[in-house]
Symmetry: C3
Subunit: 243 residues, 3 copies
Amino acid sequence: MLVLFTDFGLAGPYMGQMKAVLYRDAPGVPVVNLFADAPSFNPRASAYLLAAYVAEFPEGTVFLCVVDPGVGTAGRRPVVVQADGRWFVGPDNGLFDVVAMRAAERRRWEITWRPEKLSASFHGRDLFAPVAARLARGEPPDGVERPWQVEELTGWPEDLYEVMYIDHFGNAITGIRAQSLWPEAQLRVGEHALTWARTFGEVASGAAFWYENSNGLAEIAVSSGSAAEVLGLEVGSGVEVVR
Amino acid sequence: MLVLFTDFGLAGPYMGQMKAVLYRDAPGVPVVNLFADAPSFNPRASAYLLAAYVAEFPEGTVFLCVVDPGVGTAGRRPVVVQADGRWFVGPDNGLFDVVAMRAAERRRWEITWRPEKLSASFHGRDLFAPVAARLARGEPPDGVERPWQVEELTGWPEDLYEVMYIDHFGNAITGIRAQSLWPEAQLRVGEHALTWARTFGEVASGAAFWYENSNGLAEIAVSSGSAAEVLGLEVGSGVEVVR
Amino acid sequence: MLVLFTDFGLAGPYMGQMKAVLYRDAPGVPVVNLFADAPSFNPRASAYLLAAYVAEFPEGTVFLCVVDPGVGTAGRRPVVVQADGRWFVGPDNGLFDVVAMRAAERRRWEITWRPEKLSASFHGRDLFAPVAARLARGEPPDGVERPWQVEELTGWPEDLYEVMYIDHFGNAITGIRAQSLWPEAQLRVGEHALTWARTFGEVASGAAFWYENSNGLAEIAVSSGSAAEVLGLEVGSGVEVVR
């Protein structure tokens, strides 16, 4: 399976252009669009977001990931990463560091292959998609291995105490794994202190709370309402644990 | 074929996460996203909307449907419904009652199977998608049959005299089947009385009218404009027939 | 491969309904959604937009294209166009004229086949999708050949000096092929004169510029910002070349 994780947006031609390359180069392999609205210009929040969604995909899944900045400018090498049997293709701008940090086994290769025509701005289509398709067909990575340096991975906190994503319903997904909290923990955002609930149905309509979402993250919600609007949250808003 | 009918929104990971399960468990079966923006928190309008789109899909199609409220709280059983040869999987919160009411043959089973890991908030991925995939592979439903009680289906009017959906162009799809009207019928929304036209091309630019849309429903439109904006319509707005 | 190019919007049922027909009638053929937000009610801008994205798809690709006006009213014949080995299905309202003008080889057929049930408003599903599926299965076009008249194609300028599309990031794609400019060319939009840069990374944050995008078009952008907002651009805004 091929999984897309980008900040390209659903509208416009970019998703379709990448999928066309994948269908051409890896016929019969299903392509799933996981996020097209990963935090723009924010590889750090994107790295935590990606890491939270990886575990439900089987070994051998190939993730094609693009979040600027870095793509198309010098100093951001294209890489293939292997972490616990899953593959990741994209720019080496930190996007894969949280996945690598949490993995038992990790390898990294710099992609040295270049297509005949490489546009300056759309490496997702021209470079990353053909490489991802080859991995999905079962070919080994073709590049120069670049092992992770210990210091590359030690600068990242275990969890990200920020809002990483606001969904369609206005729920705010944080970078805090619920397993690192305890049920009585309160989360503070701005002036608001939020207590835990198991699910929406257990909370009065209009009340704000946090719960463990279906990917194990602490998520801030308002029952029958938009937490983003009610609490004034956006991607990057800080979240504190009241201990 | 597998068809998705949800209020999850296109953005965000939910559609992709469900599709990943479907591709994994029912390889080779195409997955079509029919609605990702069914009326939120409104299983009643969603039930009429779904019923209007069912007939164009062949027998054997499996509809995976999720519209809150009800999912993840007690008292809303997960069910499989079979109606005129098509399958429906989702919560038993009324979502399938209009389809069932209009079907010549209908059966219903409560889903007793539970996955090893069942999140509190994402039954679409954890419970309904694996069940839908098994039906799409041709397996029989696995659960306890719960025949429809007559009184469950008699509380629903034949048609819904409301706006059920506002589309990309600002057209307002009502829950009224055009066959239950007559061409000279006028529809009233707020202060506006609307006459019938066969198609957009027959109406002056900027004029409001109603027509029979491609799914047989009375739809309110403004030629070269947005009916929602011009007439102040939203999901739930009442529609009267002037007799 | 089947490629969709429409103004139907991603939300709502239209994309899904068309895909369902394609999957039913051309099983196993991948379907790619290129644009669902082509310039609405603007077949002229849509014609230039389509022409810029055709070359990256292989011969034999079938493009299913619908942009109003014209569909469902008299005087707009449904056609199949073959241009340099690629197929196009849709209304004969100018949408394929730029592709045809630029092609070395072009043929056109009027579609005379009609489905049993043809709705007044959704020819994309009822008429164009079944025809596109048959072409994708390798069947020849079934209709009356209508060769292009020379005068039909000579009224179109080589390039369109307008904004054709605003993407997710606020970048404004023009109808000007960069190859028809020269690197020192300045583009003027409203009060703003824009110089060329190779890529975003070479421009100061917040600065406006133009560059050759990944499809060979002059695209107007603001580094780390939205050109549409900063420069007040929308689809149809004029673009001048300062010579």
